[in-house]
Symmetry: C2
Subunit: 499 residues, 2 copies
């Protein structure tokens, strides 16, 4: 196992993430620290101020002590815009090395963009998009399609610069908002490929977009407490931009979702998001909880352990490793339920698009055992909802959680009212059918010995027949599975025969 300390010296904050990476490349974040240092608060010539450098040194010394205390094998430390732009960059790097022994890697803008891209591409399933990573002192834009970076650029402004330059850290005047817009449009005009983008979602990285997501969720009374992969319509970003613009500074603190240590730098950065949406006519925004720090982790894993080919598969395996799920049993349940899903598709009418839900629920249906065996299906619900699965939409996460939680219920009743913003009646229907497949598959692996080699299914207007292929007659498995015959009949109007 490797224990890494990843330090990100940003323009606003300095952060430390402690992450364990096991021998197979699965990782878990075990601690995180953040200190608001504001190195980006420089003098006019971008020179780092001595008092800020002092605070950075003090923070880095603390982080070094923490890394030593938790026995980190390695420290990876990067610095972004504030240090990159500073004429006294080399002095800073030398001072840090001398005082703390930490080697700072000052990332070029293009490199910073690439790490943000790594963070995004390994944590969501979007085929194409425009990534916007707003930091304190720079903004990275990356256009990607089919796992390829098409274009990228690092623009030399961030939340701290904008707030200062356009005097929008307190109340915002009409003139300043207008000047800010003109500045941003001029900056975007300098990026020739931006104009040509069409039909892409904006994928937002960093605190500004996470905050926009939080505010939007509070407005909507969204039922999930998940930041990553939250989708916002651009109209709602505009609403938030307008509300903040019109509120006097002292009333901003009342906006639910906007944290106090961000009120001064929020408006400028929020304007940058909104004007980019406007500039590119983008309709959909997706919040990415995963950015440069996660990009550094994925980069480490790909360089030292394994390629990450499928976001969802890697994420599920990662969670299984952490929760000590019985892999053999999970894969057997997946194999059998997938086989029934494709053979009985026309009868069950579960949409093809539910494949990832079936996969997640099958693999993690027993994950709750790690909390307690008793009532473990309810715990699996909690685990699937909260363990940060990547590569699924929120709707798919909720569906998977429900399907897993029902896998041991005799009566398949689903109370999804709380999630009616996310799930439709049809989704609820699919969940029930998927959980039926899980229950049958779990019965077919009663002895947890992969005894059933395969299943073949056929059906007519009266009955559905599931044939189990096994070296001996699987009486135990058939008996268990037949407990679900009632439910099967109710859902499909067909008698269930298992042989």
């Amino acid at each position: 196992m490797n224990r890494l300390g990843i330090i990100d010296i940003g323009s606003n904050s300095v952060r430390l993430v402690i992450v364990d990476v096991d021998n197979e490349g699965y990782f878990s974040i075990i601690n995180e620290f953040k200190e608001t240092v504001r190195l980006g608060d420089t003098d006019k010539n971008s020179v780092l101020k001595p008092e800020r450098v002092q605070k950075a040194l003090y923070t880095l010394q603390t982080f070094k002590t923490i890394c030593e205390a938790v026995r980190a094998d390695r420290i990876i430390c990067v610095a972004t815009a504030a240090v990159r732009k500073a004429p006294n960059q080399q002095e800073f790097v030398d001072t840090v090395r001398k005082n703390t022994g930490i080697d700072v890697d000052v990332l070029q803008g293009s490199k910073e963009a690439i790490f943000a891209y790594y963070g995004v591409i390994h944590s969501m399933n979007e085929k194409k998009g425009l990534i916007m990573d707003i930091g304190g002192g720079s903004t990275e834009l990356v256009h990607f399609e089919d796992h390829m970076v098409k274009n990228s650029i690092s623009l030399p402004f961030g939340s701290i610069d904008l707030a200062k330059k356009f005097d929008v850290s307190g109340s915002v005047s009409y003139e300043n908002a207008q000047k800010l817009k003109e500045f941003l449009f001029a900056q975007f005009d300098n990026v020739p490929w931006l104009k040509k983008l069409k039909d892409l979602p904006l994928i937002g990285v960093g605190g500004t977009i996470r905050t926009i997501g939080k505010i939007d969720k509070k407005f909507r009374q969204y039922p999930l407490n998940l930041a990553h992969n939250y989708k916002i319509h651009s109209q709602n970003v505009h609403n938030i931009y307008s509300i903040v613009k019109e509120k006097p500074a002292e009333k901003r603190t009342k906006i639910k979702g906007l944290s106090k240590d961000r009120t001064d730098i929020f408006f400028g950065a929020c304007a940058a998001v909104w004007h980019l949406l406007e500039y590119c006519s983008i309709k959909n925004v997706i919040v990415s909880g995963s950015g440069i720090r996660e990009g550094l982790i994925y980069d480490f894993i790909e360089k030292n352990h394994r390629p990450i080919e499928n976001v969802l598969d890697f994420s599920i395996e990662n969670i299984m490793a952490k929760f000590k799920v019985d892999k053999q049993h999970a894969y057997q349940v997946l194999k059998l339920s997938s086989s029934m899903y494709s053979q009985l598709g026309d009868l069950l009418k579960i949409p093809k698009s539910a494949e990832n839900v079936l996969k997640t629920a099958a693999m993690l249906h027993d994950s709750g055992i790690n909390i307690s065996y008793y009532d473990h299906n309810s715990h699996s619900f909690y685990m699937i909802l909260n363990s940060g699965i990547n590569g699924l939409t929120h709707r798919e996460i909720v569906m998977s959680a429900f399907a897993a939680s029902l896998h041991r219920h005799k009566k398949l009743k689903l109370d999804w009212k709380e999630y009616s913003q996310i799930l439709s009646k049809d989704d609820a229907d699919s969940i029930i059918k998927i959980s039926l497949l899980l229950r049958l598959s779990e019965s077919f692996d009663t002895c947890m010995d992969n005894f059933i080699e395969d299943v073949t299914c056929e059906f007519d207007n009266e009955k559905a027949v599931i044939n189990l292929i096994a070296p001996k007659k699987p009486n135990v498995e058939i008996n268990r599975a037949l407990y679900a015959a009632d439910v099967f009949e109710k859902l499909t109007n067909r008698k269930l025969v298992i042989q």
Copy 2:
């Protein structure tokens, strides 16, 4: 690590529990199987019926296969009343050995009572009590005080016998209920020590009492889904007894909490509980979710690994081992918060009885990191509530969960309305103060390096001073801790000084 398969051949059901015991003696149940075999449904002379034996063999063969599939190192198999009372006992044991290779240990009544006692005594903090374990074919009573068995007996009737003998499996006539009462009182009269018991709680083991608990919870709309350590007033047991007595058989299935496969045998066993409460003038009943199977696990651990001296400590350590909690940090937070708790007791006014809450919250405040680092304090809440901690009352469990969940909140607001059946306003107050101590202690271990050796505290009418004892000036720790100064001042009316 040892993986055990524990098989319990009861008179009603045959069960298999798969349990992992690590090298330090910490265990987790990873799977459980149950088949209703009803060996206790014997002929008049207690001879096991061939069809029941057949079903038992079939079940045991399945369980053997499961044990092999999950690579259990060892199978521990016990049989209770039905087999114990059967004249064809030896034939049964031989047949099982021949057909499955499993060695059945037929427990004498006194041994069965002892294992139930082990299950109880290692999972709750009661100093004295009368344990009642109602099985399908026998009922064990154990009187204990100060971790010593004072008296025990195995009575030769259980839920199956009573239902049959007094014809109370369907609707119950007045005469039959009366005859049942007379029979039970006569049985109790035969146990001389029973009459002498005073001021003891009844600790109930087995499905009947768990079911009584479930029904009572539904009546009360109890907010916790925890079976173990649930407390019922004897008057409520009488209510449940009366309701079941008066309901015609077909309406019993409507009683929420009473499962279908128990409706026929429930009344007789419920009568046994109620009449024992009546006979001994017992006011309080405590449900034990832990019985003979857990007794066998604890017996194994004590024989092969370690003594279990303190129920709560063992349980917390067990959970910490499972959730990979950073022990050094947890113990440091416990040490510092306990020290402040005792020194600032008169100022904070947290009752002395909250010591176990402080301990649990301190040790498990980071347990949620196992689910996901993000929002881990909320996950710790879920973990503490659901991981089956032993040795705490429900009230203490909820208090610990809340205290842990608040350890990272800047504003200490507590929404405890949902738990108002369990918590009082004073409890809510204690929770907030305990979480303040946790927050301070966590700050004092910012670098997770046990840098602070100890704390000394003093206070007057204006201020409270916390002196940190450390080899160097702990600037980082003091700065972090001072974030909590506002809250401290609000709660105590004293300025907080840390030096």
